[in-house]
Symmetry: D2
Amino acid sequence: MIVVMKKGATQEQVEHMIERVEELGLKAHPIIGTERTVIAAIGEKRDEHRASLESGPGVAEVVPILAPYKVASREVKPEPTVVRAGSLSVGNTHLGVIAGPCAVENEEQLVLTAKAVKAAGATAIRGGAFKPRTSPYSFQGLKEAGLKILAAAREETGLAVVTEVLSEADVELVARYADVMQIGARNMQNYRLLEAVGYAGKPVLLKRGASATMDELLLAAEYVLNAGNPNVMLCERGIRTFESHTRYTLSLSAVPYLHDRTHLPIVVDPSHGTGHTNLVTRMAAASVAAGADGLIVEVHPNPEKALSDGYQTLDFAQFEELMALCRRVAEAVGKRIE
Amino acid sequence: MIVVMKKGATQEQVEHMIERVEELGLKAHPIIGTERTVIAAIGEKRDEHRASLESGPGVAEVVPILAPYKVASREVKPEPTVVRAGSLSVGNTHLGVIAGPCAVENEEQLVLTAKAVKAAGATAIRGGAFKPRTSPYSFQGLKEAGLKILAAAREETGLAVVTEVLSEADVELVARYADVMQIGARNMQNYRLLEAVGYAGKPVLLKRGASATMDELLLAAEYVLNAGNPNVMLCERGIRTFESHTRYTLSLSAVPYLHDRTHLPIVVDPSHGTGHTNLVTRMAAASVAAGADGLIVEVHPNPEKALSDGYQTLDFAQFEELMALCRRVAEAVGKRIE
Amino acid sequence: MIVVMKKGATQEQVEHMIERVEELGLKAHPIIGTERTVIAAIGEKRDEHRASLESGPGVAEVVPILAPYKVASREVKPEPTVVRAGSLSVGNTHLGVIAGPCAVENEEQLVLTAKAVKAAGATAIRGGAFKPRTSPYSFQGLKEAGLKILAAAREETGLAVVTEVLSEADVELVARYADVMQIGARNMQNYRLLEAVGYAGKPVLLKRGASATMDELLLAAEYVLNAGNPNVMLCERGIRTFESHTRYTLSLSAVPYLHDRTHLPIVVDPSHGTGHTNLVTRMAAASVAAGADGLIVEVHPNPEKALSDGYQTLDFAQFEELMALCRRVAEAVGKRIE
Amino acid sequence: MIVVMKKGATQEQVEHMIERVEELGLKAHPIIGTERTVIAAIGEKRDEHRASLESGPGVAEVVPILAPYKVASREVKPEPTVVRAGSLSVGNTHLGVIAGPCAVENEEQLVLTAKAVKAAGATAIRGGAFKPRTSPYSFQGLKEAGLKILAAAREETGLAVVTEVLSEADVELVARYADVMQIGARNMQNYRLLEAVGYAGKPVLLKRGASATMDELLLAAEYVLNAGNPNVMLCERGIRTFESHTRYTLSLSAVPYLHDRTHLPIVVDPSHGTGHTNLVTRMAAASVAAGADGLIVEVHPNPEKALSDGYQTLDFAQFEELMALCRRVAEAVGKRIE
């Protein structure tokens, strides 16, 4: 990292900071400029020490140089990771499509949806059994009964099951039924939960927090990878910005940006990312063109009567259209849905 | 609009507000709820009066119902507008591609670029003669000499010229040379300039301000349309968010969102929208998949030596790749570059 | 809430939506405007149904009218809540001051700090025993050993102990040592944890998530209140915005805004809210002037050697200055530190 | 600045970049780290060249070190600037208070307001004669007639006149009547207008753009200073963030942050910064506690009937309260309103 001294910093202050840098086990290279002195601190990744250096006497600013994540980095593993879970393959040339309702409501709803999305070409079913709801007065999910319904839908259709886990206390239970454990955006920095799904071993779909930078997303993935679980899919699902005409701002630049920096596959959620049914199909196609390795899309037999998220949910006919468009775009960019 | 009264609002306050609403020429429909009273104010678009109602006694909030733009609205003109300027057609099934350097530096640079982008399939040339620079110490453009070079490049290649105008004082001069007058993001709410390009009559490419909502963009377009100029292209070029790994956050949801609300064509700028050369091609493809009617892309013979924006500029080979990918995606979504 | 129909919505669609509204147990008041029809849906708070209505045929938009929180609302309890925990009183005219290091590092560090901040006038000690860290490679806290050190500092000084709990699994343990359980910004929407601290019964300091709206903060508080725990302090600690010169953007308008809507006391954290030592004192004073009921400030015997957050931490002399300034401002606005 | 090379950058690429840095007239200091090479580029401020270096072969990133503004910098002029314009003094220990209606509506309204705010202690009158309005259908101001009314109010009360100029074409006209020329947030990067007010010579109140960083605000000031006008007041008036419960997010940390970096005085606008009458007084007090050198506040004889901005405007009694509170806080922090 680079320690930038203030314009009037004294020789003594510069020497003090050189000493501090070396105390941290880094090599200090002072550079005397025309207007101020900077000290390059070279060594293993130690950007966490940035904190203490910045409060040193005469210091204007400390500028980090190295990315703080390691195992997720493409510098460490250049070839793309392909995550596989039953019928679902995500990464490299494989475009996975996960579709299903926001919440599991009952067996009929879910099995009907699973059959319809499979017929349209989806490669996994999604559905929430544990629902994180902004208000304590909203529907909180069917819990274990919901997991059993998901397993029944897998039985019926062969589709892999993707479902969210909200609490470390539920990890073992959810892992018994799910093929992929989803970590929701609100829990992206719930570190205990990240470690727990890391140890549980099932593939993980990690959603980006609504105000998380891409570096923070990679560091959250690092918690899972670090616990010995290499099968992590990152998911862009929209960030919070001043623009309120859409529910979130889907930041598709995240797809090529992350592909440059990490070998992990990138999934996009155009349903939460836009919050409006009529924007989902176009943004799914745009995600594929941006290079996404997977899509996760909300589909319900009758969105108008869905217990949650109806305003961003497709019905079966709309989902078929989405698949037709995405298949054409996938071909144009060299990806396959299978 | 809807005037929401506070929980404890008195009968007298409600009556006062009904009177106020009617003074504004609107019809008041009071609705007595279980917890509070709301007054629906019905009539012509008058959301500008929201300001004064909100400070009324006992009022909790005023909720606007109608979109504030008129001429730009798809409700007024359902069929999509196609903007044509020489070699450039933008809108409906026509995908226009505007390419060229950030700034006009000299004739050789510009003519070379114009020939290269034309060969790759671009349908217009861009280049700044007047440059808005964050710092007064940066290169400010060649001004009229730059405009002459642009005209020479048009002469040579037949490509339409798109160039920015910064000031009402320059509108006449720029209109003499340009086929399309560009209003930059920093000037999206420079209302005098909007009116001036409205009266000048040449087609206008209006860039979204970095913190402008989509409604504000449509209202800015309204200033140009209102001055009698129907040929306005809107341009998404990234908004400012907390994410600093990219220069701006390119909000591609703006494309289908705006298409729902306006008949005006939507152009995307993946160069400014990302700020990194290696993200431009993918985001151009994603823009096309999202339904964009045009692209505007920075291209330079040698980006490393460009006087501005080199970090987000493609060289000729990179631009050819972009065009090849975008053509395939355009075909997949039913658009044609021509 | 208000269901706004599209301009061209048919009579049939309007009737369908009236039916849907009444199925939800609400009373429907259709209002025929000059350009479009709106349906006011009146009844108990049911804004969660907004989701399903928005996907109805012919619907343009659904506009919520009522705030979604209940128990936290000042409409329900007009007089301000005062939260008391040992030496700490927060609310109404009582200004509480919580000070101490980011992380508990060792007994000497903590007891020294506790004595110093008490001497300067602080009314509680803070210190993290469980640390949520963005990177898995950063210091994670002393855990139970840290809690014991906090208890020792309380023994020594009489100051109440405020400390963070990261996981439902630790709630019982932390409750045994802490006087106030802190929920960090990253966990503001970890609903299981909110319920767990709700049931544990100790007063709670609930930090606003970096991208949480004020309504979402109040709904998170609602999870704790709903579990039977009335002693909740809300904490503004900065939101994430495009401005990166400060770590977060401390939104002091939240103080008077929340005071209007809730009876719960509001604490401000100028340390995380700015991320720079040299901004903390001024922003603490500004918080008090804005009407804050409490402050939480990072203080360390030697910030330059702190294991975390050194760049935003005050030393003892700086904290004394802060207290002197805040005392004068508190007096000017009618608050007392005691 | 620091050029960070990619991990696998070749010796040849490093040498190429050293050459490039030296071509720009900077001195290159390459530093070979354990994982990658960085090149420190030392010399006069040349961060504008960052653009071209970033597109060099093998370059990962270019990190700027020096602030890009010069004349505004406190490093150049350590003592605070005091701007004086008739009855108004802003800077150092002088707290100026500018108050008046959003728009000049008629002479009676303005003179009445001027007398009332003077009686309460304001030191200048504000009022818009040229109004920048988001919608072309809103009231656009009385133009020269409005300026004459402002001059009449000065005549009557002795208060200095602060009013906005929207266009270079009006600079001469406005300068004839105004004591302080205000540049609105939408025009912060209208560089021609900045230069024009720079040459006009009257003191300037420069409002921060809604999405401008603090560095960009200082660079905009640099355009005015550079044209030979040293009397610039910076104005924080709220930035655009995801929080929509307030009109903007008033970022008071800007006050101490800017005071650290510039000698120019800082004014705060709590009216636009919050957008709600009932938040203005508290945020005015908080601004003073944060160290603001001035306040600009919207006041109207009858806000409910104001032609614009009524929802954020104080009536005379509310403004008296604001002044009483601010006077007490000013005293607590060592400032004087006079």
